[in-house]
């Protein structure tokens, strides 16, 4: 079960976790990661997320299916928002379910590492001092090496 959603609308990670767990058949371990808008500068008024419609969905589905196969997952969810978000709002989440915890954890970390560097999203911080694109981190690219 692979469930990929790219959307402007807000979502609730808790409601998604409940719905995901309820759909599972005999998977003992569920891991979620959720990303919230963080304001490091203390100046941000909103975050703008741009994406590449069409390619985004395809890239996320490919990553999710690869994780599902590699760790024999009982299910994968990937949700990522685009558009304007405020500090503290949910940007995205992934959820993975497996029989054993090691697989669920590894798959969730793999999804995050790939999503960060291979899914076509770009973040821009809008603040009192102006707008600034968030720069990619070398660490995010390097994180792919372990897979």
């Amino acid at each position: 079960m692979v469930d990929v959603r790219v959307q402007e609308a807000a979502f609730q990670a808790g409601a998604e976790l409940e719905a995901f767990s309820a759909r599972l058949q005999n998977a003992g371990a569920v891991v979620t990661f959720s990303g919230l808008v963080r304001d490091d500068s203390g100046q941000m008024t909103e975050m703008l997320i741009e994406h590449y419609p069409g390619m985004t969905e395809a890239a996320l589905t490919k990553i999710a299916e690869e994780a599902e196969d590699r760790w024999s997952l009982a299910g994968v969810v990937v949700i990522h928002r685009h558009g304007a978000l405020r500090v503290g709002e949910q940007i995205m989440m992934v959820a993975t379910a497996a029989r054993h915890r090691g697989h669920a954890f590894e798959a969730a970390e793999f999804l995050m590492d790939y999503l960060k560097s291979r899914a076509p999203f770009w973040k821009k911080e809008r603040g009192a001092a102006g707008d600034a694109w968030v720069a990619a981190k070398d660490a995010d690219e390097a994180a792919l090496d372990r897979w």
Binding site: G35, I49, E50, H51, Y52, G54, M55, A58, A59, H80, I91, M92, M112, L115, K116, S117, R118, A119, P120, F121, W122, K123, K124, W133, V134, A135, A136, D140, E141
Partner: protein, 82 residues
């Protein structure tokens, strides 16, 4: 005719998100050379190719990719999702 798309600061520097381009360029790199020759805003956007990523028909690719049969090329900075 190829659809050429720009995202994030590449889109901002070039000033539009998408355009159709008539080209005989054999590769992505050749297309970039053509664009740079056109106007300063392209030269500004493509000044440092190491800071750019390219997708060909919505798959991550690179500047050496051939353009024969390609419908869509996109240029953008490294992704920062999640």
């Amino acid at each position: 005719m190829i659809d050429v798309l720009y995202f994030a600061w590449v889109r901002e520097r070039i000033g539009l998100p998408k355009e159709q381009i008539e080209t005989q360029a054999a590769t992505v790199a050749d297309l970039v050379t053509e664009l740079i020759a056109r106007e300063d805003r392209y030269a500004a956007a493509f000044a440092d190719l190491t800071a750019l990523r390219v997708a060909v028909d919505q798959e991550l690719s690179d500047f050496t990719a051939p353009l024969a049969g390609v419908r869509e090329v996109a240029f953008f900075p490294p992704m920062t999702g999640g």
